[in-house]
Amino acid sequence: MSRGTIASRYTWSSAGIFLILLVAAFFTLFPIYMGVLNSLKTEGEMLNNILSMPAKLQFANYSDAFHKIEFIRSLGNTIVVAAVGLAGIIVFASMAGFRLSRTPGRLSGFLFGLFVMSMLIPFHSIMITLVKISRELSVQGSTFGLGFIYIGLGVSMAIFLYHGFVKSIPRELDEAAVIDGCGEFRLFFKVIFPLLLPVTATVAILNLLWMWNDFLLPLLMLTDSDRYTLLLSVNMLFGQYGNNDWSAILASLVLSMLPVIIFYLMLQKYILNGIADGAVKG
C-alpha cells in the first residue's frame, strides 16, 4: 500500500468523524437555538414560519416573562436555597469527613457506615415521610428550611468524598498544629480546611448543580408562590398558559437558563474536572 492512500484514507475518516460530531452538536444545540429564536418573535410570526429569523427582535416577550415569573424574586429564592444548602454541606461534611478519616476505631467506622449507607436510597423512597417530618418541624414552606433539607440529603456523599481526600494529607500537619497550641476546631479551619480546596471545589460543583436544577423537592416543600424557585415559577407559568403562549414561555425558559449557562461558560474547566473527579471517587 502506498503512502498516499494511507494518508488520504486517514483524512477521509477524520472528515467523517468531524461530520458525525457536527451532526451531534447540531442535535444538542437545536432545541436551545429554536427556543432562543422563537422567544424573539411574535406568536403570529412563530406560527407563520417557525424556522425563520425574527423580522424584528421582540424583547417585549422578555419583559413580559420577566414579570410573569417574578424573575428577581425567584432567582433570589433559588440563590438562598442553594447558598444555605451549599454552606451547610461544605462546612459540616468537611468537619465530619476529616475527623472520621483521622479517628480509628469502631465508633468512627460505625458513623461512617451510617452516612454511606443511605447513598443508594432513592429520594422517592423517603419523600413521603420527609414531607411529614418537614411539616411537623415547620420547615416546609421556607427557603431556609429547604436549604436545611438539602444539607441533610447532601452530606453523606460529601462526607464520602472528603473522607477519601483527607487520607492524602500528612498527619504531621495536625500534630504540629496541636503542639503549637491550636484548638481542635481552629486547627481544622486554619490548617486543614484550606488544604481540602480541590475536593471542596468538586463537592461545591456537584451539589450546586443538583440543588439548582432540582425540581421535585421544591415542588413538595414550597407551597407559597412568594417562595418559588426559578423552576417552580416557570412551571407555574407553563401551567397557566400551556401550549398557547409559547413566546412568553420560551422567553422565561431562556431567562431561567441564563444564570447556569453563564456560570458554565465561565467556570467550565473546573466544572468538567469536578464531574470527572466526583464520579471516579464516588
Partner: protein, 295 residues
C-alpha cells in the same frame, strides 16, 4: 491515661460529626426508617389514627394494582433503553471527541451543556420541538415521518422521553469516559498498532478493558438515575395520555399526594422502588467488579 485519651478522641469525633449527623438524621435517616414503618400501616392523610396492617400494602401493590405494575414495566423498559443507549452514545462521543485536536474543547463544551440545564427547562424546550417545530418541518419540507403525535401517542412518546433524557444525560457520562480514555497509556496502543492491530481491534482489546472501571461507574449512574426518572416525563407528557407513560416515581407521587393520600400504601410502593434499585445495582456491581482488569 490511655482510657482518657481514647474517650477524649471520641468526644472530639462526636463534636465534629454532630452537625452533619443532626441534619442527616432528621432529613434522611428518620424519613427512611419512618417510611419502612409507615409502609406496614394504613396511615393516610385524612385520618390521624392508623393501625398496623403487616405486609398488606405490599401484597396489594404487587397483586392488585395494575396501574403500579404498569408503571414498573414502563420504568424497566425505560431503564433498559437508557442504560444501553446512553452508555454507547457517551463512549462513542468520548472516543470521537478525543481524536480531535483544536476542536476537542469546543465539542466537549457543547455536548456537556444540556447537563447544566434542568430537565424541566430542557423538557419544555423539547416539548416545543415536538409539538410545534417538528410538525411544521414535516409539512413545509414534506417529511411525513416527522409528522406524528410525538407526545399524544404513548408508543411514540416513549421515544420522545428517551430523546429528551439522552439529550440531557449523555454529556455527563461522556466527560467521565473522556477522563478514562485519557488514562489509557499511549504506549499500549502503539504496541498493538505495531503488532498489526487495526483501530477497531485496538479499541476492543486494549482500550475497552482499560476503561472497564469507568463502564462500571457509567452503568451504575445510569441505572440509579433512570429508575428515579421523573422530571423528563413530568415536563413532556405528565405521565399521559391517561397513565400510559407513568413512571414509578410518578405513581408514588400520585398515590401519596393526589389521590386519597394513602401515605402508608404509597410508602410500601416507595420501599418496593428502593428494593428494585438496590437489588439491580448490587447485581450489576458484583457482576462488573469481577471483570475489571488492571492496566
Amino acid at each position: 491515661m490511655g482510657w482518657t485519651r481514647k474517650s477524649k478522641s471520641s468526644i472530639i469525633l462526636l463534636a465534629f460529626v454532630a452537625p452533619a449527623l443532626l441534619f442527616y438524621a432528621v432529613f434522611t435517616l428518620a424519613p427512611a426508617f419512618g417510611g419502612v414503618w409507615y409502609s406496614l400501616t394504613d396511615w393516610n392523610g385524612l385520618n390521624p389514627a392508623y393501625r398496623w396492617v403487616g405486609l398488606d400494602n405490599y401484597i396489594e401493590a404487587l397483586t392488585d394494582d395494575s396501574v403500579f405494575i404498569d408503571s414498573i414495566w414502563f420504568t424497566l423498559k425505560y431503564v433498559l433503553f437508557m442504560v444501553v443507549l446512553q452508555n454507547i452514545i457517551a463512549i462513542a462521543l468520548a472516543v470521537l471527541v478525543e481524536t480531535r485536536g483544536r476542536s476537542k474543547a469546543l465539542f466537549r463544551t457543547i455536548f456537556f451543556m444540556p447537563n447544566m440545564i434542568s430537565m424541566i427547562i430542557g423538557g419544555f424546550m423539547w416539548l416545543f420541538i415536538f409539538t410545534k417545530v417538528l410538525p411544521y418541518v414535516a409539512v413545509t419540507w414534506g417529511l411525513p415521518f416527522l409528522d406524528r403525535s410525538w407526545i399524544g401517542d404513548p408508543k411514540t412518546s416513549f421515544f420522545s422521553i428517551l430523546i429528551l433524557s439522552l439529550w440531557g444525560g449523555v454529556g455527563y457520562l461522556m466527560v467521565i469516559y473522556m477522563a478514562a480514555l485519557q488514562g489509557v497509556p499511549k504506549s499500549l496502543k502503539e504496541a498493538a498498532m505495531i503488532d498489526g492491530a487495526n483501530a477497531r481491534q485496538i479499541f476492543r482489546h486494549v482500550t475497552l478493558p482499560l476503561i472497564y472501571p469507568s463502564l462500571t461507574i457509567g452503568i451504575f449512574l445510569t441505572l440509579n438515575n433512570s429508575f428515579k426518572v421523573f422530571e423528563a416525563v413530568f415536563a413532556l407528557t405528565g405521565g399521559g395520555p391517561g397513565r400510559a407513560t407513568q413512571v414509578i416515581a410518578m405513581n408514588i407521587m400520585e398515590e401519596a399526594f393526589q389521590l386519597q393520600s394513602r401515605y402508608g400504601y404509597a410508602s410500601a410502593k416507595a420501599m418496593l422502588l428502593f428494593l428494585i434499585v438496590f437489588l439491580i445495582t448490587l447485581i450489576q456491581l458484583r457482576f462488573m467488579k469481577n471483570r475489571e482488569v488492571e492496566a
